[in-house]
Symmetry: C2
Amino acid sequence: MRDFLPPDVRRREYVIAIVEETYRRYGFQPLETPALENIETLTGKYGEEGNKLIFKVLRRGEHESSGETDLALRYDLTVPLARVVAEHRGKLPRFFKRYQIQPVWRADRPARGRFREFYQCDVDAIGSRSMMVETELCSAVADVLQRLGFRDFVIRINHRRLLAGLLDAAGVASDLHGQALVALDKMDKIGAGGVLRELQERGITADGQRVLAAFGAGTTLQSMREFVGDRQEAQGAIAELELIFSLASATSARTHLRFDVTLARGLSYYTGAIMEINVPDLAGSLGGGGRYDGLIGMFCGENIPACGFSLGLERILVVMGERGMFPAGVDAGGADVLVTQFEGEDPAEALRLAGELRQAGLRVEVYPEPDKLGKQFKYASAAAIARVAVLGADERARGVVTIKDMRSGQQQPIPRAELPALRQAVLREASEVEP
Amino acid sequence: MRDFLPPDVRRREYVIAIVEETYRRYGFQPLETPALENIETLTGKYGEEGNKLIFKVLRRGEHESSGETDLALRYDLTVPLARVVAEHRGKLPRFFKRYQIQPVWRADRPARGRFREFYQCDVDAIGSRSMMVETELCSAVADVLQRLGFRDFVIRINHRRLLAGLLDAAGVASDLHGQALVALDKMDKIGAGGVLRELQERGITADGQRVLAAFGAGTTLQSMREFVGDRQEAQGAIAELELIFSLASATSARTHLRFDVTLARGLSYYTGAIMEINVPDLAGSLGGGGRYDGLIGMFCGENIPACGFSLGLERILVVMGERGMFPAGVDAGGADVLVTQFEGEDPAEALRLAGELRQAGLRVEVYPEPDKLGKQFKYASAAAIARVAVLGADERARGVVTIKDMRSGQQQPIPRAELPALRQAVLREASEVEP
């Protein structure tokens, strides 16, 4: 877990603003849920690995000494969404499209771009089984990444019912499909040998080589059709994927979408298409998602279809930082002007001047103590404040303020009534810095 | 703890944007800290009442079954700031001015405008003992409230060293001052009789009537001067308050600041001026703050002066909601246009049209399934989407899109190339709705 100092926060805010603005253009609405959920809301939703990583909160009050827990920290934004839809169904539109950008917590070992507290940027569409939903989600995340400056990302896509058909064809009993997928999902990390071992350890008696072969069956949807034969569910899954590809050709996801039969996704709640975004220079994914038509029903009994995508803010920031993708303006400092103070002058004059400059829309810091002018200039330089305003007895008598430009070193008396024009100069400079 | 559905989030975002923009004008920089702190960072900082309300998190992994806790949820934003300053001192400017808007958690009984998870909007200035700091903080929060539309708020101000002088003059031993302040702080809730009882229960042997009399000594700083006599610390506190009043006369806090000797503030870390904001129609405060010159030293040994103010987002929202202070634009719906779909048409056409409209900056929802047109119009009405775009075979042949205005009911064919102009119409309507 980390502190975000002002330069970090400015970069985070830059990315979040683009994510929000893009999702709003797709008609998604903002939702926020509490950090703490009842433990039973979270348990049993994330698979065996996930269950272990949930942070649990001690019950307060008289029960504290018993070590009993009743609340847990949000583990993702999908399960809370499902709970919200089940709980507030009557207040929500039939097709509820929401985005949500909040932190989640996992008691995981930290790694590069992986932390115990991290932000997810989720976007989900509730209420329709149409493949328009998957397509629009892929298009929305493609727009986000393109507006951030990414060009080389791939949205890999697969389908849980196709995976089920392949496992079935390879002789894996259906009650062990979940176990097999957990093992197969580790292909990137532990290789074919590791997956074979793990399949055995997880009690899968089917010939491991045959299982692996199913996932090496080919790279096209057409070759999958042949492999799964007359398994109707799997054929239906292939048809859904074909429809998504066809629809995506009319959107910004067009050039980024790739079918990948090895994509499994760890979470247990997916029921249809699954997606994951990768860039060449990051081992993990920038985000992922899929369809989960059964999850909301776990909270309200009624089966309500749903599909969503989650972007990992931290990983996006890591890659953007390493590639130098932030516009210069994002990393510029805080205040536009520093107002100085002298020994023996009335400090209320400095406050009055600061008030006038702020009224004009400028960001103004007042040096809080009387001090040598040289020291105050040095402070402005160190804090990357481009202008220093000096208001001494002489300036007051002449009705001016001396503005020192810390980059050129030039000083200029400006009539007090003309100070609001400084704001235009600052805006002009900011737009010149932008790429 | 509550879910915030889209209309709630929009109101929250409106207030937060004004708070952030105002704090930035005062030269404050954004900071974010993790939700979880080590338990020992939090314990002993909030007084006896506070300690009981900290949410503790179970240690993960093999220790889980022991009920041992090692982390706790952020209780306020001040203690994490003190830890950050102690930890990152070398990376921060000498006068570190930061704002922070994040949730905090307290295992408290919920009440009107009080929740177990709530957002604080904190603004603090580190590194100076100058009363310019207190004054600028009062001015900044006054600006925030004025920009939100508040006119009738009062910023009450008092001083911990003045309170100490008064208690001393009333015969309360200095090691019991903390206990006495906790009791006196409840005057609003339990009245004079209740305070007298609580003073006794807390082991204060001094004559309770004399203690109460000290706080009824007068309402002016001048009368305080006489009461505390030659107690130098208390006289210094009065001088500080007088300076703040004098400086504030040059700022927007001018007409809002009131000295109030009965203000005590519950938290134990304050050392100087203390402030609290009230409006007539809310029992609690909208925010509060003060100087805490000793807190950072608890983390790094070095005494670094600090002063801050915290606004309670939830309470501001409650009062603004009850008074109807939100501009109409804040409560307007999500999407600007709904793109329809027909049975038998290529749904990719709807996606292509949506892409063009989004490119023009419009917020566009696509109806995800083919459906009767009337049903799609109804959906748009219910979701407060002002325009519906219809693109059938006929429209495609003519190179137009039919735009139905859901408020007037009028339909108009618009040449496809002219669709971007819709954005101007939407912006114009939005600005007309603003007050």
